[in-house]
Amino acid sequence: MEASFLNLSAKIEAVKEGQISWPFVAPPFILIPVIFIALAMSLPLFYLLIRVIGAEDVWSLILQQRTLQVLLNTLGLAGAVTATTIIIAVPLAWLTVRTDLPGRKLWSILTMVPLVVPTLVGGFAFVAAFGYGGIVHNFFVNTLKISYQPEIYGFFGAWAVLSLLTYPYVLLSVRGALQGMDPAQEEVARTLGKTLWQVFWQVTLPKLRPAIASGGLLVTLYTLSDFAAVSLLQFDSFTRVIFLQYRSAFDRTYSAVLALILVVVTIIIVSIEMLTRGKARYYSVNRGVKGRMKRVKLGKGKVPALIFCLLVVALALFIPVGVSAYWLIRGLLQGEPAMLRWEAAFNSFYASSIAAGVGIFVTLPVAILSVKYKSKLSSLLEKATYAGYALPGIVVALSLVFFASNYALPLYQTLPLLIFAYVILFLPQAMGTLRSSLLQISPNVEDAGLTMGFSRFKILWSVTIPLIKSGILTGAALIFLTTMKELPATMLLGPTGFRSLTTEIWNATTEAFYTRAAGPALLLVLVSLFSLGILFYQEDREI
């Protein structure tokens, strides 16, 4: 027993040092699921290749100056949005996890919820609030007698809306990391006379790097794939070109070529993110038990901290909710019916919960493989999982329409297929948080299990999983919220007659039924608030 353990441990050590670059040392209960998942995740890629093969003058399409120009525009937007979300989210995460901010629990949940606001609703609300003749403009012109010309369209508007609706990716990821982090090092730094700011900058922030990078990656890729916000805010982006091909020319070849370009860009971005991970250790060597955290006293800093939280929540949550409520009330006063189908709310909640559960279950093996059994192959697998997320939802949905209707007809347009689509689309979201919490576990803890003769499955179950619980909760929340607002896959792949809150919103907004759109939009926020409340209640109690 002793000998075989040493042998194994040496092997794992060798893999970590990069001497063995082969993931097959991983136990089968990790390896086998990973292979299946990687295959499933590659379906959209296979589909795109099938569509592109045999296409004529592909290169002239790709090399059109406009295509490249638009691609650069989009990358610029993605960069700006990512930087902004980090600036918003890191302070928010620190304030809500590490300090005695008044109303901390409420703020933690309120600051996450903007993630559930569909960009279509968020974009409409932003224009209605800040555009010419909008609520804010009217207030300035009519009440304050200050006239100005609001310039909300183009880069600025798209940047503002996407930043406000996607910062929760970074926030959730960083929160998860902060909660998993052993506070002992920060306390030591404090006792050595470092100021609060120095501790944050020199001790906390460097350890948050993987979490910031993985959250930032999600924001970047989301920005690349979003259509509604850029279209409403009149910004010329790459996805708009893809959509035009589908919507106007019914051309599936050209759009597949464009989508493949997006995949290549994604792989480059993910590779860059992987490079920034470096070789640093993020765990504390002596850690076995998590130390009790002392909350930082904000003192006089409370007021600016509260103003900051309020400002973010006001812009990202209160405006879309306020504008929806305004539509609802205005329509009701005119005698319009407000249609609330509870069935839609239940379906959204039900499908999103299953997607979150399945998503975590299948992401865990991939994350373990990428952290504990790092190799060239495992990082390739990890990159492949991001492909589905960076593609516009319609591309992934159509690829599954193709495969399911031709090769898995009994499953076509059923709930299991829809869940499968959600998992392909959103698996990368849980990836980042699971990775960063796994990185924080010292391998010594797991090795200790091995010396005690536990099987590796037993160690995973009773040592690893409890230690990464906050990462699991965060990952589940991310998948849950994004599934709640998913539209194209839900429409094309859901069981016939399946209504969700987003299909209800789409149904109403395409034909200018604002009153009917407002009900489901508000319900979406409400159901999400409630679900997050339950999910994070427990977490808060433990701290």
Binding site: G131, W461, S462, P466, L492
Partner: protein, 344 residues
């Protein structure tokens, strides 16, 4: 430690049960698909517009409608991907372009002459692949606080004048706007169409997402004038009241007041039996046509129908261009033109 995992175990167990249940149900449904009294409709028209009519159809015939709602173009792409395994019997599209695209791919059956002959000749495919169930006109909407009706030119060329600089709104990525541009190409030729687009582009128009956001932008006073379909204004007035500061006019004799359709085609894979025929027949009944007129403020597609809707300007009074809708299938050419002039 293991106690901490309780919640995970419960969640996992639930997920497994639900999934097994779902898969089981899916297979059960698939192998017991013996329900004769159903048809499947892929509808690019939203449930709010068309759902009540499907219910009426079921009520009268006992045939259940399995409706899948979605964006017209995305559903057309779905049908193409599904190939011969498509479960759809009928494609209900928001515009003639999508139906034309499916017809070109050989995915539509010809509809029986019995039904085609009831429909206005301008609102159906001459080869009989699809027919219009209702009509919608293109209009010019304007903000009543900023423009007097008298100031508006009576044709689309008037808006190319420099006085409209910075005051126009359009939605070049929207399907119904593109149908209008295609009509313009057919009616006036490529050169003139290009000239119009270039001149409008020089007037620096606001570029909206779709019809809804165009009307909304004009109501705020952002743009003064915009090109949209006729019935969106009625929706806004219903929600915001009579003082909603937007009204609309029809241009005369040009593409600016073209009539497009919402319509249906029968898929090649459909058994096209009595139930499908009943559906087509129902959509042309007076009851269904009155639903389009009264509830959706659209124009009827059948030849003789009493229209009693004060909001609608009667079709006879609109000087709509004489246009065969099959000619507006060439969306690709329109896309190229829009890209060429820099509108897309």
């Amino acid at each position: 430690m293991s106690q901490k995992n309780n919640i995970l175990v419960i969640i996992l167990a639930l997920v497994v049960i639900l999934l097994i249940g779902g898969v089981g149900q899916a297979f059960w449904g698939f192998f017991n698909d013996s329900n004769e009294d159903e048809i499947t409709v892929y509808s690019g028209r939203s449930e709010d517009l068309i759902g009540p009519l499907f219910d009426k159809f079921t009520e009268e015939t006992g045939v259940k409608v399995n409706a899948r709602y979605g964006d017209t173009a995305e559903l057309a792409a779905t049908i193409l991907e599904e190939g011969q395994n498509s479960p759809a019997d009928i494609f209900f599209a928001q515009d003639a372009g999508a139906l034309g695209a499916l017809a070109v791919e050989g995915r539509l059956q010809t509809i029986s002459e019995k039904y085609l002959e009831q429909v206005d000749s301008r609102l159906k495919s001459p080869e009989g692949y699809w027919l219009g169930t209702s009509g919608r006109a293109r209009v010019v909407v304007y903000n009543t606080d900023k423009v007097e009706e008298e100031e508006l030119p009576d044709n689309i060329w008037g808006f190319t004048e420099p006085e409209w600089e910075g005051r126009l709104g359009w939605a070049p990525s929207n399907g119904s706007f593109q149908a209008f541009v295609t009509a313009l190409r057919v009616l006036e030729g490529e050169e003139r169409a290009k000239e119009w687009l270039t001149k409008i582009k020089d007037n620096d128009p606001y570029e909206y997402h779709n019809n809804t956001s165009t009307v909304e932008g004009i109501s705020r006073g952002e743009a003064d004038v915009g090109f949209v379909n006729h019935y969106y204004l009625f929706r806004f007035i219903a929600e915001e009241g009579e003082d909603f500061p937007v009204r609309q006019i029809y241009t005369t004799g040009d593409a600016g007041s073209m009539i497009n359709i919402a319509g249906i085609g029968i898929l090649d894979v459909s058994r096209n039996d009595d139930r499908v025929k009943q559906f087509v027949e129902f959509m042309l009944t007076e009851e269904a046509q009155q639903h389009f007129v009264q509830e959706n403020n659209e124009y009827p597609s059948i030849k003789e129908l009493e229209v009693d809707n004060s909001l609608l300007k009667p079709l006879e009074e609109i000087d709509a261009p004489d246009l065969d809708l099959t000619n507006i299938e060439d969306l690709e050419g329109t896309l190229e033109l829009l890209t060429e002039v820099g509108a897309l």
